[in-house]
C-alpha cells in the first residue's frame, strides 16, 4: 500500500512492504527496515536501524497529528484525487474562521477594505487573552459576518477575504 503525505509544503510517498522477515518502509523510494510496536491506541514504538523512537499519532480523517520529541507535526494524507487538486495555489475566497470558542473584540477591517497577506483583520479574545487573526492572502474584505462583542464557536466564519 502506498500513501502520499504532505507536511507543510513537502510531499512524501510512503510504502510499507514485508520483505522476508522484516517490515520495510519506503519513503520516496528509499527503503529502511522498521521494527514497530503499538504501545497504546495512540503511541507507537519504532526501532529503525537500532534507533528507538516513541511517537504519538492522532488520526482524524485525512489529518494526522504526529507528536515527536515535544513537537506536533501536522500531516495530511492525500488521496490520488486530492493530489490533482492540490496544485491549486492559496488564493480565491478565504474564510477567516475562529480557531476556538471566543469573543469578537475588535473588527479591524470593513467590507471593501484592501488587506495584505498576514495583515490583522479581527481581534478575538479567548482564555483571557486577545489574539489577532490575520488574512492568509492579499485581497479585499468581501463580507463581515459578526459584530464586535459577539460570542463565536470554533470554526465560525468571521470575515471573508477574496483575492479576485
Amino acid at each position: 500500500m502506498t500513501y502520499t503525505f504532505k507536511i507543510k509544503d513537502k510531499v512524501f510517498s510512503v510504502e510499507i512492504e514485508q520483505e522476508k522477515d522484516q517490515t520495510v518502509v519506503k519513503i520516496n523510494e528509499e527503503g529502511r527496515p522498521v521494527e514497530f510496536e503499538k504501545i497504546d491506541d495512540y503511541i507507537y514504538s519504532i526501532i529503525v536501524d537500532g534507533k528507538s523512537l516513541t511517537i504519538g499519532v492522532l488520526k482524524n480523517g485525512n489529518n494526522i497529528q504526529v507528536f515527536m520529541d515535544g513537537d506536533l507535526f501536522e500531516i495530511e494524507a492525500i488521496s490520488e484525487r486530492d493530489q490533482m487538486k492540490s496544485s491549486q495555489v492559496l488564493s480565491g475566497v478565504q474564510e477567516i474562521k475562529s480557531p476556538m470558542p471566543s469573543r469578537v473584540v475588535k473588527i479591524l477591517k470593513e467590507i471593501g477594505d484592501e488587506v495584505d497577506a498576514d495583515e490583522g483583520i479581527v481581534v478575538v479574545e479567548a482564555m483571557k487573552m486577545e489574539s489577532e487573526l490575520k488574512s492568509p492572502i492579499e485581497g479585499k474584505v468581501t463580507d463581515v459576518l459578526v459584530n464586535e462583542g459577539d460570542a463565536v464557536e470554533a470554526g465560525n466564519t468571521l470575515l471573508i477575504v477574496s483575492s479576485d
Binding site: Y3, E37, A126
Partner: protein
C-alpha cells in the same frame, strides 16, 4: 490545625493545595463549575460541591457561592490559590465577617497592594526604587503627554492589572494611540476597570521577584529570588531559582527591600515582591502579589520549605520556626509551564481533548499538573497544562534534566509549547544565563521545530493509517496485502494490533 479547609480554586493549584491540606491532616473541600466536573481537583478532594456555570463570573468569582459551600460543609478556612478571588479585598473581608479564616494576608494588605498607585506610594515611602512614570492613572489626553515627557519606549499598564493583562509596550509615538485602546479594552474585560498608567520601559529588562513569608508574630523572611524573565504575551513561561545573574549583595539588598515593603503593610502569609531589573543589577519595584505565585515550586525546591503548607499554618497562628540566617539556597530549580498553545501563531491557546498524556517522572522531577488522558482543556480557563519543575545540584544539571524530562512529556490532542521549551533549554544564550524579557522575541527560531529528521514521524503516520484501515476493514481491495503484512509482522516482532 483546621479540621476542614475549602479550596476556592481549580486546576493544578487547587490540586497542589488539596495535597498540602491533606498532608496536614485537614479534610479538603473542592468547588467546581459545570466545565470542571471531571477535573482532578474534584476527584482528589474529600468533598466537592458544584457552584455554577463554566464562566468564572458564574462560579469561581461569586463570593456568595463560595461562602455558602464553606458554611454548608463546615469549612473553617478558605485557601484562595491564585487568580479568581485570591486578591479580592471584598472576599477577604467577607470571610472575616463570616468567621471563616482567609488563608492569606489581611483585607487591608490586599487593598493597599491591589491598587498599583497606592502600592507605588507605599514603596516610595519605604525608599524602594521606582521606575519613572505617571503619578497614577492618566486620561486618554494626558497619557501621550506623559509618554513624551518620560521618553519612549514606554509601558501602558492597567491600574487594576496583573499577569500581563491590559499591558502594552509602545516603542514609538505613532503606535501610542492604538496600544492605549487595546490596553484599555483588555483592562475593561479583565478587571471591569479601564484606568491605566504610563511608565518608562527599561531596556533589556529582567523580571526578578522575591518570595516573602511572614507569620502573625512579627517574623517576615525572604526565601530568596526567582528569575522569571522568559515571558511571552507578558506572561511568564520559564522560571528558575536562584537567578543566574545576581550577586549575593544584590540578593540581600532585594530581600531586605521586599521585607521592608511587606512590613509596611503588616503582611502575613506568602507574598511576592516583583522587581524589574536592568542588565547592571539596578532594580525597581513593580508590584506585590498578595497570594501564592504560580512559580512558587522553584523556591520550594531550593529551600526545602513548603510554602503552601506554611500559608495554612500561619493562618492557623503558627510561628515560623527559623530566622533569616537559618535559610540558605541548595542547588538549582527550573520550572517550565506547559501550555496548550501554538508557539507558531503567537502562542494562541489551543483548547481540546487530551487524547493521551504521559508526564515524565523520576529523580528531581516534580510535575504539578491537573491533566490526564481523556481530560478536556476548555476555553473557559487559562490553558496551562502542567508546571514541570526540576531540581539538580547546579543550573547546568537542572537545565539538562529539564530538557530530558520535556522530551519524555507526551501530550496528544492539542498544540503545546513543549518543543519550544526544549529548544529554549538547548539554546546557548539561555544556558549562559543572558536573560531578559525580550528573549523569546529575539529568538523566533525557537518557535518552530526547524530542520529535524521528519522520517520517523512519516513512518509512524503510515503505520497508523495502515492500522486504522486494518481495524475498520472498510476496504477489502488494496488492504488485503496490508492485512497479510500485519499478520506476518506480528510473527516477526512488529504487530498491528
Amino acid at each position: 490545625m483546621f479540621k476542614k479547609i475549602l479550596i476556592a480554586n481549580r486546576g493544578e493549584i487547587a490540586v497542589r493545595i488539596i495535597r498540602a491540606c491533606k498532608e496536614l491532616g485537614a479534610t479538603t473541600v473542592a468547588v467546581y463549575s459545570d466545565a470542571d466536573r471531571k477535573s482532578l481537583h474534584v476527584a482528589l478532594a474529600d468533598e466537592a460541591y458544584h457552584i455554577g456555570g463554566s464562566a468564572p463570573a458564574e462560579s469561581y468569582l461569586v463570593i456568595d457561592k463560595i461562602i455558602d459551600v464553606a458554611k454548608k460543609s463546615g469549612a473553617e478556612a478558605i485557601h484562595p490559590g491564585f487568580g479568581f478571588l485570591s486578591e479580592n479585598e471584598k472576599f477577604a473581608k467577607r470571610c472575616e465577617k463570616e468567621k471563616i479564616v482567609f488563608i492569606g494576608p489581611s483585607a487591608e494588605a490586599i487593598r493597599l497592594m491591589g491598587d498599583k498607585i497606592t502600592a507605588r506610594n507605599i514603596a516610595q515611602e519605604a525608599k524602594v526604587p521606582l521606575v519613572p512614570g505617571s503619578d497614577g492613572a492618566v486620561s486618554d489626553v494626558e497619557a501621550p503627554l506623559v509618554a513624551d515627557k518620560i521618553g519612549y519606549p514606554v509601558m501602558i499598564k492597567a491600574s487594576a492589572g496583573g499577569g500581563g493583562k491590559g499591558m502594552r509596550l509602545v516603542r514609538n509615538k505613532e503606535d501610542f494611540e492604538s496600544s492605549l485602546r487595546m490596553a484599555k479594552s483588555e483592562a475593561r474585560s479583565s478587571f471591569g476597570d479601564d484606568s491605566v498608567f504610563v511608565e518608562r520601559f527599561v531596556e533589556e529588562p529582567r523580571h526578578v521577584e522575591i518570595q516573602i513569608i511572614a507569620d502573625t508574630h512579627g517574623n517576615t523572611l525572604y526565601l530568596f529570588e526567582r528569575e522569571c524573565s522568559i515571558q511571552r504575551r507578558h506572561q511568564k513561561v520559564i522560571e528558575e531559582a536562584p537567578s543566574p545573574g545576581i550577586s549575593a549583595k544584590t540578593r540581600k539588598k532585594m530581600g531586605e527591600v521586599a521585607v521592608r515593603i511587606s512590613k509596611a503593610v503588616n503582611y502575613s502569609g506568602a507574598g511576592t515582591v516583583e522587581f524589574i531589573m536592568d542588565q547592571k543589577e539596578n532594580f525597581y519595584f513593580l508590584e506585590m502579589n498578595t497570594r501564592v505565585q504560580v512559580e512558587h515550586p522553584v523556591t520550594e525546591m531550593i529551600t526545602g520549605f513548603d510554602i503552601v503548607k506554611w500559608m495554612v499554618r500561619i493562618a492557623n497562628g503558627e510561628k515560623l520556626p527559623f530566622k533569616q540566617k537559618d535559610l540558605s539556597i541548595n542547588g538549582w530549580a527550573v520550572e517550565c509551564r506547559v501550555y496548550a498553545e501554538d508557539p507558531e501563531t503567537n502562542f494562541m491557546p489551543s483548547p481540546g481533548l487530551l487524547h493521551y498524556v504521559k508526564a515524565p517522572t523520576g529523580p528531581g522531577i516534580r510535575d504539578d499538573s491537573s491533566i490526564y488522558s481523556g481530560y478536556e482543556v476548555t476555553s473557559f480557563y487559562d490553558p496551562m497544562l502542567s508546571k514541570l519543575v526540576v531540581w539538580a545540584e547546579s543550573r547546568e544539571a537542572a537545565i539538562d534534566k529539564m530538557a530530558s524530562a520535556l522530551k519524555e512529556y507526551i501530550v496528544l490532542g492539542v498544540k503545546t509549547n513543549i518543543g519550544f521549551l526544549i529548544r529554549v533549554m538547548n539554546n546557548d544564550v539561555f544556558r549562559e544565563g543572558k536573560l531578559d524579557t525580550g528573549f523569546i522575541e529575539k529568538h523566533p527560531e525557537l518557535l518552530t521545530a526547524g530542520e529535524v529528521d521528519i522520517e520517523p514521524a512519516i513512518i509512524a503516520a503510515a503505520l497508523a493509517v495502515g492500522n486504522a484501515e486494518e481495524s475498520t476493514g472498510s476496504d477489502k481491495g488494496p488492504q488485503s496485502n496490508w492485512k497479510l503484512l500485519g499478520r506476518k509482522a506480528g510473527l516477526s516482532g512488529g504487530t498491528l494490533i
